[in-house]
Point group: C2
Chain length 354, copies 2
């Protein structure tokens, strides 16, 4: 898991800026018909056909979003792509192209960037998206990655955050809180390693939550599943910052309130047991942990029967009038707990490190 | 030109990540019909009509691409947008949308980012493009900006780097080397200021080259001018890294060679006199200085009469067979000087600072 320092490494300056980009991107094949030209011109050319273009961007900074002490670069490249594709999936659209920008310190050898791009390429293959552009430059310290994802979709399929209605059902894919608990394990074992580099990290038995943190997947499959069920969501968002925060976004944009049922929140047993072990409230990891990259959406109450027993989906609540606010109904009681956006905040979390 | 430290400043953490994005982007109006939804959802939605989408991204890092000791944040925001729009103009396409990602240290107060976004907004207004997305996060040190620019254009108008033919004429817009000389003056005066903060910088008389460095413009006007002249360029690129480097790109992608005539290279008198004053070779500033953001393109020899006396354009050479290589014909002789890519290289230039 930690860097192999035995091989001879190539300084970036040996290739220069153009040579580096060419070297890193030359093995990326073009998969999509919509990609007319890719890397190598001033801009890529995309043929959208008669579709709408959906486009989103995310930036990941070393020391804020990732710690290279325990995140392998290949996983980082994969995850950086997934995070962006998740935004396209959250529009109920199909991702087709990405652009990758890097600002990277000279302390990274070419081999490190090859690892990063191997992860990017694995994600491109897995999700059938083309790398069509990017920029690579030096930075004074650390690594900052910015990825822009593009999707193409027929207008009628696209789902926004702003179109939920009162009485709509609130649905979530997969399970929540795992990525956050995986991070807690990684940080615990990294602290042990820093204190004593001869200690082996104890990662055994935590596979599922470690994978949720290190190699999350974007739910680009959900669009087809819903289509098969003849369900068109009334609003949709992805869970990057925690369930509570995302519910508040849907509320704010759709002008509805929500009731979330604590007992309905889907969580893996390992997430719950690890939270217990670390004296954390499992439900809080789902509400505020973030990085699960599952989809949260609303559907018309008429679609209830189509989805109620589907293994990919859990109905966790419903929309109410905007004036009724956003509350979680506590397990085993009718007590209402106000939902607050205690989601992961890069600026606040970074304060602790200064 | 240097920061006013007298006012009370707001830490970014006071607004948080969502609050900050909302605060910085809420005053951006939507100008283009193609922008269906903008900031506020998982992704923006763009209606390309029947046009192709051209898309490009650039990253700018503090200490590498800019020095906040002498670059005002408003100018930086403006220039960061221009640099990206220039890539779209270099496809002979019309820019329509941008996305802006920032990684920024907590040492920047909200007011500094407001300045930066004021510059971004000025550029959006000037070039009629919409800010449709972005991401803002903290970084451990410094400021890294990544901008993605999108343009929409009819397929038949788009011009690539790869389609020049032997005998085509090589044409450039505006004049070259000014941005680089502006940078030399800024660095000279900044060094004086650092040595003695009571010294006033001597910027008088250098207005044109300072503006070329601090507030460059993208040649989005060229497309319409060429259309009016009934000229369709056979290949095109923008000059971000210096004339020599860009000629080599056209050569490489089009599989042609070039002859560049030294005496034809358009340079402003102030660029030449400042280069002389600083003991620099003026032609080298055009060949290798970079950041001029003029357009370099080829046209069919049949279009010679249409362009020869046009004030916006200078014919500086012509394409030859690929096997004949890329050479500059020296002034006052027929001596051939090989063109080499000594353009500005972020990785090499940064080595000096480490």
């Amino acid at each position: 898991m930690f860097e192999d320092k035995s091989q001879e490494l190539t300084p970036i300056s040996k290739l220069g800026e153009f040579g580096l980009i060419k070297h890193l991107t030359e093995n990326f094949p073009i998969i999509n018909e919509s990609t007319e030209t890719s890397v190598g011109d001033d801009a890529a050319i995309i043929n959208p056909g008669n579709k709408r273009v959906v486009v989103s961007t995310d930036v990941l900074a070393e020391g804020v979003h990732f710690n290279l002490g325990y995140v392998p670069l290949k996983h980082l490249g994969y995850k950086a792509v997934v995070v962006n594709l998740s935004d396209i999936a959250a529009m109920n659209a199909t991702p087709t192209q990405i652009l990758v920008s890097l600002a990277v310190s000279n302390r990274f050898p070419v081999e490190a960037l090859e690892e990063l791009y191997a992860g990017i390429q694995t994600a491109c293959n897995r999700y059938k998206v083309d790398l069509v552009g990017g920029d690579t430059t030096s930075s004074n310290t650390g690594l900052v990655m910015s990825i822009t994802a593009i999707g193409l979709e027929n207008e009628e399929n696209i789902v926004k955050r702003s179109t939920a209605k009162p009485n709509d059902l609130l649905v979530v894919t997969g399970d929540l809180g795992g990525a956050y608990m995986g991070l807690q394990i990684l940080e615990r074992e990294h602290a042990v390693y820093l204190a004593n580099p001869n200690m082996q990290p104890e990662m055994e038995g935590f596979d599922y939550i470690l994978e949720r943190q290190l190699k999350p997947e974007a739910r680009t499959d959900v669009k087809e599943i819903l289509k098969g069920l003849e369900i068109h969501p009334t609003s949709m968002i992805d869970i990057s910052d925690g369930l509570a925060s995302e519910i508040l976004h849907l509320s704010d944009q759709s002008k509805v309130g929500f009731r979330l049922y604590e007992e309905k929140i889907p969580m893996d047993n390992l997430t719950i047991s690890t939270a217990d072990e670390l004296n954390l409230n499992p439900v809080m990891t789902a509400l505020s942990g973030g990085e699960d990259y599952e989809l949260l959406f609303t559907i018309s109450p008429e679609d209830f029967e189509k989805i109620r027993n589907h293994p990919d989906f859990t109905i966790i609540g419903h929309a109410v009038d905007h004036s009724e606010g956003n509350y979680m109904v506590a397990r085993g009681s009718n007590q209402l707990v106000a939902l607050t956006a205690q989601g992961w905040n890069a600026f606040l979390s970074n304060q602790d490190n200064d």
